[in-house]
Symmetry: D2
Subunit: 307 residues, 4 copies
């Protein structure tokens, strides 16, 4: 077994880099389609303050659905548990991330907060309680990442909004079942801004360290969520964090994780480390192809997963 | 945090026992419907040879779908990985355990080996390679549990077979897609015998210890499956082991686990312990209601889950 | 067999009137929920200029989905066949009238022009070619019914619009597949105005006479659509005109027909008569309960259906 | 408009014959796959005893699903209406003819007697009341067609049985819901024999004349079913007789009809004529491509449909 080190990360980045030629960059919006697919980066932060990185770990990208963990986290700080879970489930969907079939059969209640429907409900919850949900998220992320310079990529946010018909259909369907309370356009705009957060692997690994640290952000010692909530969010990522590839990912990598179509993945060994990888080209399930391979190789070399 | 001890188990059994009045015993076959719902037991085995128990831990019951882990394990010892995973997936189903909808949409390939369709494919694989799959399973389980006296409950097996129309439909549908090779009746009879294995919590915790011990059966030092396979089976239980309640179970308990409609659940903290609980009354997802509560309480008291 | 006469109609209205106590008035918008359910009317027009009526045949009501035949008719006059039928199908849906499941599986192409999705596409087609689609429809209907005093019920139209979340979801889903070209809100407003046309049985039977007269409006001798198109629209009503009750309706009544949740039904014996019935309370499929019974009785007494 | 004559039929057969090069012969069983696709025939019988024919009207073929009308007809003579319609619906399915999805969602009740599931229920009903359902059907058809020499094609029946996995899945699924009472294998064997009836266009047009004659078989003056039942069966064919192409067929041809994958179609103008066409190559919905075109041309030339 190897020890965690920059050299180790460097080594596996080199081994995996050929895989960046496979897969497909998300192309449903121009702003994503133009990204160079051959990039690959990794960063790891530990609760005791060490950090490691290799490859393109300081290049920013669109975090996309990784932001769904952030909107759930903020919702957990604003609402009682029951208020959240009566409006969204905790089960894997067994369906593509943006399917309406299950949403209709299950009367407008999304399967979990990590599919689009569920994240839209989270944003709707935030809209109801926050006066400036976009600004609030920025402040939250900047504090977690200890980086005041994090911004929304407005080109991406705009582009998403212009291709938002499917998400509008989802939101209106939930509204028809009474599970969406605010203005659809307004909430979608917040949702797309969250997706358009632009961060790099180092910033992500640091920002999400609270999920490897029992809910605490070690940088300022502050509690983000309770230890129990941190366990629960990890559990939810384990079963539903990787779209319709959660089972395969658990099988290969064995860590709770959340991916985005920008090619980023955050993954965790609770108590030990917060990991962020990035490579833009995606596999058939919409998860970073080389990023997943990088995480798999890491578990093999460290001899560590949660299983 | 508490230490693992018989006293601790005794204590949480008493705390949880009132919950045995809730839920419903499986009643689709008479042989299960007659079981006294107020029973509750737990047993834990550790890789270093300690064992603990409380409540009705030595009363045998029908292990039902817990046997799906055994049939997958045997298949893993008989086939190359690719031979297995081209015929069954690794993803949560997002559907009731015996639904045909997804099976038809996905052309006869079951979502995972822990739904009925997937387990029938495992039994079909075993049928193709073993001359006496029922006898072989008995020998396998007896060796794992170090207990030569384990048997099939023939009344249960017969009763299942007489109520097997839904499973026959599933098998025939897979046959229509070319994903079922042997005689439907013959394989179903093997399948129902596996479900009708009669074991108690102590026997289950000991038999399944290999999944908490990197694939080794500590009793005789023998390798059952490789460490990687053990990790993988745990991952699969994490995402798909609890029917359509896997997300909720991960959220509350945070362990890979597999349940059966007989009211049993096996659960694992890899490297640390193999746990078996039993209480016959089920929640709406078909998992033991009091058994799940017992596991939840255990993780709270030990301060241990995999997250 | 009886001859067509006011006395005959009067007789069957009396026989059927007790059934107005069964069924349920549509209550998804307040403007419909308030209608007195005990009303029942019928009017018949023939190509040779005779007309008959009985019961509440001159009370106006909201024609609702009956307008879907009108929007299809107008679309047939504005577009080539292929332009229409590449965007909407001709098959029964086998689903509730406002389901999104099939629409998603079939990539945004509605099954037929008589479910909501299909009618929204018709309105989208009209929006693309007409400068004032609402005014144009009014003029069209007024001419067909020879009645300059037909109007939209603005209270109903407004009420529909305020409860339009499901239809918005449908329109946005089609937009996500590229099958909706204009502004969703604008088209929906036109759609709801069409639904809110307020007409009585006599006006309906006269307006729709062209479907019993090979596409000609006998009042002014003008061609509305070609004889072939008239046959085709009748065929489409036969297979898809009565929501998910088309088979049962064909079985009992045996005429092409279109119903609306306002309790109206128009039905046809091509070449012989155009019939409009009305009674507000609906059966489980959303068709007028007493209205259907009235048509069934009429076919029995006349010894006439299309079969 | 043309008069019905052998010359007219001859003429349209020649016009349509080039279309026999398009489409695909059913190939799921070898016995059907081997048929020469370039054959095309038509026969018409009228209630007043005239008969017309052209093309390959005396070549026998496998009537396949056309037999579903016969099994419904026999069931109507053996059971009260309610006994039949509580076990099978009357609505179009909106699904492929052998789908299990809707059958599961609707708890084992087939949508109508003309999809496989519904026809299997009809055969199950016959099995419960008849001692020799296969022999009885032969006698029934021989009498209707006035032809003692009609037989089952045993090669086809055997071949179907050997490829019956999908139908077995359907039958077992219905059994799991309590909607299938007899032995699955036994009923399937009857079902496949009915499908394997070997008849030519002339025999079919004569045998089915009762559906154009108010339920009477004009040859011997005997009542097959009541006039009301004849209207109802025609209505059912109109909405559900052409698989998932019923709407398109009604649109183009405008007659109640039932097709089989052997390439045969029976169609009706009630009170006027019974028509049988045959050409083996099928369109995407599974209906005879040239056969449908032949019927369409016939309606144009005669200026007659039911609309």
């Amino acid at each position: 077994m190897s020890e965690l080190s920059n050299a180790l990360l460097q080594e596996i980045v080199e081994e995996v880099r050929p895989l960046t030629r496979e897969g497909r960059v998300a192309d449903y919006i121009p702003a994503l389609a133009g990204v160079d697919p051959h990039q690959l980066g990794i960063a790891i932060h530990t609760p005791d303050g060490r950090c490691f990185q290799a490859g393109d770990a300081t290049t920013r990208f669109s975090i996309q659905s990784i932001s769904k963990v952030l909107s759930l986290t903020v919702a957990l700080t604003l609402y009682e548990d029951a208020e959240i879970w009566q409006r969204v489930g905790k089960e894997p969907s067994g369906q593509p991330f943006n399917s309406l079939v299950q949403l209709e059969l299950e009367q407008g209640k999304p399967r979990n907060p990590f599919i689009n429907a569920g994240a839209l409900v989270m944003c709707d919850l935030l809209e109801s309680r926050l006066t400036a949900p976009r600004q609030r998220m920025l402040e939250f992320v900047r504090r977690l990442a200890q980086q005041p310079d994090i911004h929304y990529d407005r080109v991406v946010a705009r582009s998403e909004y212009e291709h938002s018909a499917r998400n509008a259909a989802i939101a209106w369907l939930m509204k028809s079942f009474g599970n969406f309370h605010n203005d659809v356009s307004k909430v979608m705009e917040t949702y797309f801004h969250y997706c358009a957060l632009s961060m790099n692997c180092c910033e992500l690994a640091r920002a999400f360290l609270y999920l490897a640290s029992h809910g605490c952000s070690p940088h300022d010692g502050g509690t983000v969520i309770t230890p129990r909530q941190a366990r629960q969010v990890n559990a939810l990522m384990m079963t539903s964090g990787m779209y319709d590839g959660a089972g395969e990912f658990a099988w290969r990598v064995g860590m709770p994780a959340k991916s985005g179509v920008g090619g980023g993945i955050v993954a965790f060994i609770p108590g030990e480390m917060s990991i962020a990888v990035w490579s833009p080209a995606l596999d058939h399930a919409g998860n970073s192809l080389a990023g997943t391979a990088l995480l798999e190789k890491l578990t093999e070399r460290l001899g560590r997963s949660i299983f």
